[in-house]
């Protein structure tokens, strides 16, 4: 089996209008269609997690420095891992409000990569937008897979959030046995 190591950090986020941000992240692998021979197995590491809440004191960027260390084994290239992110903001009462959804593919060439993942959030009707401005809350996705799949996106009307910055390093092993050059 070929092996993929993803080692890096979710460094932080910029461009969000809210402060006190936290990020919930997860990795999704596997085919978009059912395929018996392409299966990804997570050998070590946690598939999802949540960062701490960070409040920037100076400047715009919220820093998390959240470590990511994943070890996958696979027999096929389909379903290359995708990192999906949800950025939430926390107010002084401890309530969380959605700031943005985003996803990015894990890079496929070995080495260290700087990734910038843009985010978006569902807009809702004008009433919901007004309520969100005053009281907080706002629409959220019921099922998280719309974040990383394109299937039903046309139903959504969204607005942009900020950008999440990641630094991921990739180590690949045994891919030449399967005829994949990297």
């Amino acid at each position: 089996m070929a092996e993929v190591h993803v080692i890096g950090q979710i460094m932080g986020a910029t461009g969000f209008s809210e402060s006190s941000l936290l990020c919930k992240w997860g990795v999704h692998t596997g085919p978009g269609f059912v395929s018996p021979w392409a299966a990804w197995k997570l050998l070590s590491g946690v598939r999802e997690g949540q960062t701490q809440v960070d409040t920037p004191q100076i400047g715009d960027m919220a820093y998390w420095s959240h470590p990511i260390d994943l070890h996958f084994a696979t027999k096929g290239l389909q379903g290359w891992p995708r990192l999906h992110l949800q950025v939430w903001s926390q107010d002084s009462f401890g309530r969380c409000q959605l700031a943005g959804y985003g996803f990015c593919h894990v890079p496929s060439s070995p080495g260290t990569h700087q990734l910038d993942c843009p985010t978006w959030r569902p807009l809702g009707s004008w009433r919901e937008q007004l309520a969100r401005a005053f009281v907080g809350g706002g629409p959220q996705l019921l099922h998280g897979d719309a974040i990383y799949s394109g299937a039903d996106r046309y139903r959504l009307h969204t607005t942009s959030g900020g950008t999440v910055h990641l630094e991921l390093s990739l180590l690949l092993r045994h891919f030449d046995r399967y005829g994949v050059e990297c």
Partner: protein, 184 residues
């Protein structure tokens, strides 16, 4: 086909903790330690260290320079658990107590060569205003009983801490630590 025997590889890290920028604090020292997975073990060099106390330069940079050497070699059979260096910076507060000014962690670079990394530092902070005042007054800030927790991903939600400190939220200080790595 028989499985290949696990092969051992070595990771040599040479470098230094160069300097830091902490606009609000002075007279700081830093401690470093490494956090790594189960398949890793240090074979040579020092795994942890405490630097000297340094004061800000008088010029416009206002930098705190340590130039503190890091020299360690690890051996492993598996890249999982790649070592992270955890840095904690301490300094005196108004009353003269030694308090933590920032924690930071970063993976040792994965490719050979010369790397310069600048990492943000953050401190845990209490969410209640009364707790913040009491801790300022008594000189007992929220502090991690084991700084290695900074290098772990689990348990960060809600800023869990142990022992003395009740629930803490994290605040990132506008502080930068510059490291230079020359791993091979």
């Amino acid at each position: 086909m028989a499985a290949a025997a696990p092969s051992v590889f070595l990771l040599m890290v040479n470098g230094q903790v160069e300097s830091a920028q902490f606009p609000e604090y002075d007279d700081l020292y830093c401690k470093y330690c490494f956090v790594y997975g189960q398949d890793w073990a240090p074979t040579a060099g020092l795994e942890e260290g405490i630097s000297q106390i340094t004061s800000k330069s008088q010029d416009a940079r206002r930098a705190l320079v340590w130039n503190f050497p890091i020299d360690v070699t690890f051996k492993s059979t598996n890249p999982y658990g790649w070592p992270q260096i955890v840095l904690s910076v301490y300094g005196p507060d108004v009353f003269g107590n030694d308090v933590v000014r920032g924690y930071g962690a970063v993976h040792v670079p994965l490719s050979p060569g010369r790397h310069k990394k600048t990492i943000p530092m953050f401190v845990p902070e209490s969410t209640s205003k009364l707790q913040k005042f009491t801790s300022w007054f008594m000189g007992r800030r929220p502090e991690y009983t084991d700084p290695k927790v900074v290098a772990q991903g689990e348990g960060r939600e809600g800023g869990n801490t142990e022992a003395v400190i009740p629930k803490a939220a994290w605040i990132c200080l506008p502080a930068w630590l510059t490291l230079s790595f020359c791993p091979q």
